[in-house]
Amino acid sequence: MKTDAIIIGTELDGLIAAIRLREHGYSVRMIGTGGGSLHYTPEGIHVLGFSPRNDEEIVCKPLDIISQLDQSHPYCKVGIDQIRNALDWFVNILGEIHQKITISGHNELAVSATGLSIPVYGTSEHQATVGNIGGKTAALVRFRAYRDFPVELVAIELGKSGTKTEIVDVAAPGDAVENAALAKSFDELEEIDSYFTALKNSIPSYADVMLFPAVMGLSNFHRTLASAERVLGMPCLEVPTLPPSIPGMRLERALTNHLRNGTASLHSCSGISGSSFEADQIIVWDDMGRQYEASLVIVSNGGVLMGGLDVDSYGVVHETSFGFKTYQSEPLKATTVDRSLNALHITGVETDDALRPQRNGSGFCRNAFVTGRTLPHWNPAMECSTEGVCVATGWAAAENAHEYLESLNVA
């Protein structure tokens, strides 16, 4: 069955584009191998935490410095007005799906998995930030036998920034020692109040905020954290853990469900084995041999990180599904470690300002758009800008696709 759009990949940017295209009334099919890079990124909406020119220079008001970025940066292609629209729209969507995000116009300092600070533009309800724990006395929860939350490091670093901490050893429900299993055991815990009542005795009386590792439930975390706050009588906040990121999975799950309710087709667990690319029709085969047709394609396959782009042993970057032209700084294997790493981060599929890629030998495609990590010229790890770029480019791709599909209808 033919759809208006096929979206390759289950990244945040692909989900955004799909939801937006559905809002415009188009039929959408997503094809991906499952778990996107949201599983690797911590809580909150990171728009631009650090200057792209300096790993240590904290940005206070990200939207104010977009115009100072390199012209090739995805933000510059999308433009400041569209970025604002996209972020406002995204926060609204998140409100609808019970993932409340607060945006104050400037970066907050979120607490990282080691207690260091990371600037974040939008914070979620239970996210620990320097703002909501600074100067307080925090009880830091260490689940027995759980390895993926370096609580001793958090205690040291928070101590340096004026938050007193006390590590509290507690048993997690069940025997779970991994993030997803821990979250599941909280979701499934029937007597949630009595769990926290039992825990209350081991918490020092002078503590005025509780810090948990961010594993307090996947589908049912509102209930868990509300119960904790009610029983313990103080704010209960979450600090990121090593991946997989439970807050990232919550977001992915909520967006995916939202999209399913909108009757989009989602084919997870399949990769792309081939494609046929015509001016007005795109055919994609997945690796189960199924064939899908559409008027346009949005490629949001996560770039090199998620295997959407290949790097070969000569250091050349390939986009293999459609044969789009890639960008790589010359040479990819640079002389210094930081430059080599940066070169690897900033490769991607080169596009025009409308996020349209080029195919071998021909001009820019009218019916293909590229988003998120598949785009070049940005370094998510250095900038701490993942969600911002994904939302902005996913939104912009959907708007541009809308324009293209409308032009087809007029014709």
Binding site: E56, L116, R147, S245
Partner: protein
């Protein structure tokens, strides 16, 4: 013999000591630790001084072979025979760190055909058990190697976990009353009346002068610098060799090309990985361990002959070590330098009580120490025999020899599945805590060397912060950004060179975790600092 002392001249100096002679050994690699052990066994009071961590120089930056000597059977038969003798002794003394892989020498169409027979004869002359094998059988047993094997020979090569070996030797020295001072840098020497009396060292605790009757320079590629502190020349040729780390062992035994020993002609299965190497490049600076991008392509191009699919393999990282070869005086420039070690008695040029041992290899670390010990005793007029080959290492477990599954066996036995801090290399939390509590280890890199945390596919992405948290329990001055950041930058140095295929994804995932989740910022000073020893 070049560099050897003349006994009669040295005997002219008799020490006026009424205590056990005191020796200071400079250098904490395999040679230095073996020298310290040798002298401790002869009754010396020994202090070993190492400027970094034990085994953090050349001893850990090579391909991990415990040579049967077959590699040198044609070019240097005497040295080959010494390797064979020592290989048996080391495997006997430190069975727990030696894996008896065996070795293969294969002739490929590119290799000189007449070399194979010379190789066979050379092995026989050097007393190396050698057997010619049916090439079809070899290709059937080793599916990863070229399908064009013309002739194949089996020899008793082995591999050694060099860090563990170095630490076994050092622990043995400690148990025999010796002192091991790591992170102590020699900054000067005490010379009185043409006689070496001690060294000045500096450490985090400040400067101190250590007195001694003899000072032994076993600093490997740094030994020329050490000798230069007292105006003595040690003529070394420093050869940098780069190695790539394949994600699997790929072969069941060490596989060499059957041709005169040269660059990139060997793959060694060691631990959970396969090492292919090495390049060879003369350098001036013993700290030059930077791998160049061109070297990687050179390695891959040559590896493809032996391992046709190598470009499709996952390669974790690349690294380089510096091999110090001794240049004897008046050695003809066209002749390859000897592999055998040399002992220099600087008493011969007016500095009594100072010796340098250089050249050789890890396989012959014990005989190097024996030779040096003999000459030291001779010069002191002491009649103390070398017993290092026949005295068991107090720290070595007897048994079958090390095998990759050993870690997992320990975990099965202890039933400590939930306390793994490193899934890649199966390192248990209890092992980390033991080193922190009982050995005072507090640097991530020192734990990495001893336990292999950070060596596996994820290169420290997950274990880095887990181990850091354990360190922080005991050392509240742990600084997440700088200490974790330095660890990640050191890992990155090797990863960026081999970031293709799955390892490119890994590099980005790891960087995402370090910067976006852990919040580490890669300050320029972390990225530009030298190797962490």
């Amino acid at each position: 013999m070049h560099g050897y002392s003349s006994a009669s001249r040295s005997l002219a100096w008799m020490p006026q000591v009424d205590h056990n002679p005191r020796a200071i050994v400079i250098g904490g690699g395999a040679t230095g630790c073996a020298v310290a052990r040798d002298l401790a066994l002869r009754g010396f009071g020994v202090t070993l001084v190492e400027f970094g961590d034990l085994g953090s120089g050349t001893s850990s930056r090579f391909h991990g072979m415990l040579q049967s000597g077959a590699r040198y059977a044609v070019s240097d038969t005497d040295y080959a025979a010494e390797c064979m003798r020592e290989r048996l002794i080391v495997a006997d003394l430190a069975a727990g760190v030696v894996e008896q892989t065996g070795g293969l020498f294969v002739s490929l169409p590119d290799d000189p055909p007449e070399f194979a027979d010379r190789f066979y004869d050379g092995c026989l002359s050097a007393n190396i058990p050698v057997e010619e094998l049916d090439p079809d059988l070899v290709m059937a047993r080793e599916p990863a190697i070229s399908r064009h094997v013309l002739r194949a020979f089996s020899v008793p090569d082995a591999t050694v976990q060099s860090w563990r070996l170095v630490n076994l030797l050092a622990d043995d020295v400690r148990r025999r009353g010796g002192k091991i001072l790591t992170r102590h840098r020699v900054i000067g020497m005490e010379v009185r009346n043409g006689r070496m009396c001690g060294v000045r060292v500096t450490s985090a605790a400040g400067e101190v002068t250590l007195e001694a009757d003899v000072v032994l320079n076993a600093a490997g590629p740094w030994s020329a610098r050490v000798a230069a502190m007292v105006g003595r020349t040690v003529d070394l040729e420093l050869g940098k060799g780069s190695i790539i780390v394949l994600s699997h062992r790929m072969v069941s035994q060490a596989v060499n090309r059957c041709r005169p020993p040269t660059s990139h002609d060997i793959i060694v299965p060691t631990g959970t990985v396969g090492l292919f190497g090495t390049t060879s490049e003369v350098v001036d600076d013993p700290d030059t361990t930077k791998v160049r991008a061109e070297e990687i392509q050179e390695l891959l191009n040559n590896a493809e002959v032996l391992l046709p699919e190598v470009r499709n393999y996952r390669v974790y990282r690349a690294w380089a070590g510096v091999r110090p070869l001794f240049k004897p005086r008046d050695w003809p420039s066209e002749k390859p330098l000897p592999r055998r070690h040399s002992v220099i008695n600087h008493g011969d040029d007016g500095l009594v009580g100072f010796f340098t041992v250089c050249g050789g290899s890890l396989t012959t670390h014990r005989s190097m120490a024996e030779d040096l010990g003999n000459q030291v005793c001779l010069s002191l007029g002491l009649d103390a025999k070398c017993i290092s080959a026949i005295t068991p290492l107090t720290t070595s477990k007897n048994g079958h020899g090390w095998r990759p599954a050993d870690n997992y066996r320990g975990i099965e036995e202890d039933r400590c599945y939930q306390s793994l801090v490193c899934e890649c290399e199966a390192v248990a939390q209890s092992e980390v805590i033991d080193l922190i509590e009982n050995y005072g280890i507090k640097h991530l890199h020192d734990l990495r060397r001893r336990l292999r945390v950070g060596f596996g596919p994820c290169q420290g992405t997950f274990c880095g912060s887990r181990v850091a948290a354990l360190i922080a329990r005991y050392h509240p001055d742990f600084a997440s950004n700088d200490d974790l950041g330095r660890f990640w930058v050191e890992r990155l140095k090797g990863i960026v060179h081999t970031a293709w295929g799955q390892q490119a994804r890994q590099a980005l995932l790891s960087d995402t975790v370090y910067r976006e989740t852990l919040g580490v910022r890669l300050k320029p000073e972390l990225a530009t600092s030298g190797d962490y020893r």
